[in-house]
Symmetry: C2
DNA sequence: CGGAAGATTGAAGAAACTCAATTTGTGTGG
DNA sequence: CCACACAAATTGAGTTTCTTCAATCTTCCG
């Protein structure tokens, strides 16, 4: 579970490249994610007001925490690039990963209820976030009904996707859980216009298992089974979905197999 | 899983009684739940505006649906009295109960993202809800920053409690799941000033199992085990928590037992 | 009181876990 | 660039936990 935040040459080089690209899209107004993120549905004037609020392009290197449980809620964070994991620690000391946020997804929404973060956010790869000071955001929402509505949609969508995970955890066998996990990632990548057949998983088998309520060995076995059945191809953490439809059918029929 | 919505004499008598009581507390302003529900933190004037919005005391008899998946989102509903279950049906036809809302809790929050309900809400006993037309509520939020903030807290709290269930589903054994379930109910009753040592469970073993990712026989066995260990006493669906601290310790140490 | 649904308990089976050995992948330093 | 060391992933064998199937008991209503 531990990851080093050490900055080696490779990481520095990689960040230099992304920072050059990023200079071309400094504002929500022309951000490629504006159709799936908070700005969805805003006009130019409204976008401008939101833009004034957002602190863009804070970098978080692989293994670094963006926030920790107990931290007071200052800002929500939208993933601009990269991949995160959010995990919570129970009173008994058990860790549970509750989400793997990717581009355009907000982190920290569960902190509003107590003004303090409940989850811990760690970058799984070198990443970039946009920070949105929450108090100022709430003030702006009152002025911009469309932004308010979109914010509510994102909050509501977070609940809905949590329910999706509950469905997975509560009703599925190990094989189906892994299949559903891969499809979920693929769908979310597809929704962002990214290639969704070949997925580079930024998380370990252990992290997948933790998320799905399985042990890492079981996850590995299920990857192997799906591979042997010809549904996927694996090459380390790179996973290709060969039979998208068959994989989806597998999830649909669920543990109902005759 | 099926329950009859048949209205027998007993039900009619019961409702007559509650309706008499209810006439004394017709508005949010003097509702006993205002400290845990949407009105928390509002002053008299603000309360009045919210009051004008809310359609109070819609009755839902045991077994009846308040809304179903696919229904367009008209109103959010706050439980005024009674107990509900919310279940979702996956594409593959599997049911998963995602919540057992009780007094002061909002239902339908996950519908905002798609303007249609995803869950199905069924009353587990004769119940009463306050309906809050969502479009009008959102308009009011812009005028009442405190109401807006409280609404966000409730949305955020829903996410947080969903994460709590994920933790249960993902990390706990059958025995701990049942223990955690009982404690959760007890805590929520306690937070409402109700007796929390003796709980009358309005849901069946099957429904508990569905919620916790267990089969009904396993749930029954775990009730028996907790009873044999002296932590609880059971008398049908009436359950008494005898050793509150021991039960909590059990959940804390989790599957870490030596 | 009688029937049906819900709950409990037992015994056998399946699924996932634990422990352990091996292989593969990754990053570091020679 | 290669070899080494360490972490991650895979695979196997045996065990535990939960489920399945089945019988019995209880509770709730009519």
């Amino acid at each position: 579970m531990k990851t080093s935040g050490f900055l080696n040459d490779r990481k520095m080089r990689r960040m230099a490249v992304t920072s050059f690209e990023a200079s071309l899209r400094q504002r929500c107004s022309n951000c490629s994610l504006r159709e799936i993120c908070l700005p969805l549905g805003l006009d130019a004037e409204e976008l401008g007001k939101l833009d004034d609020l957002v602190k863009r392009r804070r970098r978080v290197f692989a293994g670094q925490h963006l926030f920790r449980a107990g931290d007071p809620l200052q800002s929500l964070a939208a993933v601009r690039a990269g991949f995160f994991k959010i995990y919570e620690v129970s009173a008994g000391g058990h860790e549970q990963i509750t989400a793997f946020p990717m581009e355009g997804e907000l982190m920290g929404l569960d902190a509003i209820s107590t003004d303090a973060h409940r989850g811990n956010a760690v970058a799984l790869e070198d990443s970039e976030v946009c920070e949105i000071p929450f108090t100022r955001l709430e003030a702006l929402l009152s002025d911009l009904p469309r932004l308010q509505h979109q914010f509510h949609k994102l909050l509501s969508g977070a609940i809905a996707s949590d329910h999706g995970l509950m469905m997975v955890l509560g009703t599925m066998t190990a094989e189906l859980k892994v299949a559903a996990f891969l499809l979920n990632l693929s769908d979310r990548l597809g929704a962002r216009g990214q290639p969704c057949a070949i997925i580079h998983l930024p998380m370990s088998r252990e992290e997948i298992g933790n998320y799905l309520g399985l042990k890492l060995e079981t996850v590995s076995r299920m990857f192997s089974r799906l591979r042997d059945d010809g549904l996927i191809a694996t090459e380390g953490r790179k996973t290709e979905i060969l039979e998208h439809k068959a994989l989806r059918d597998l999830c649909l029929q669920g543990p109902l197999r005759a």
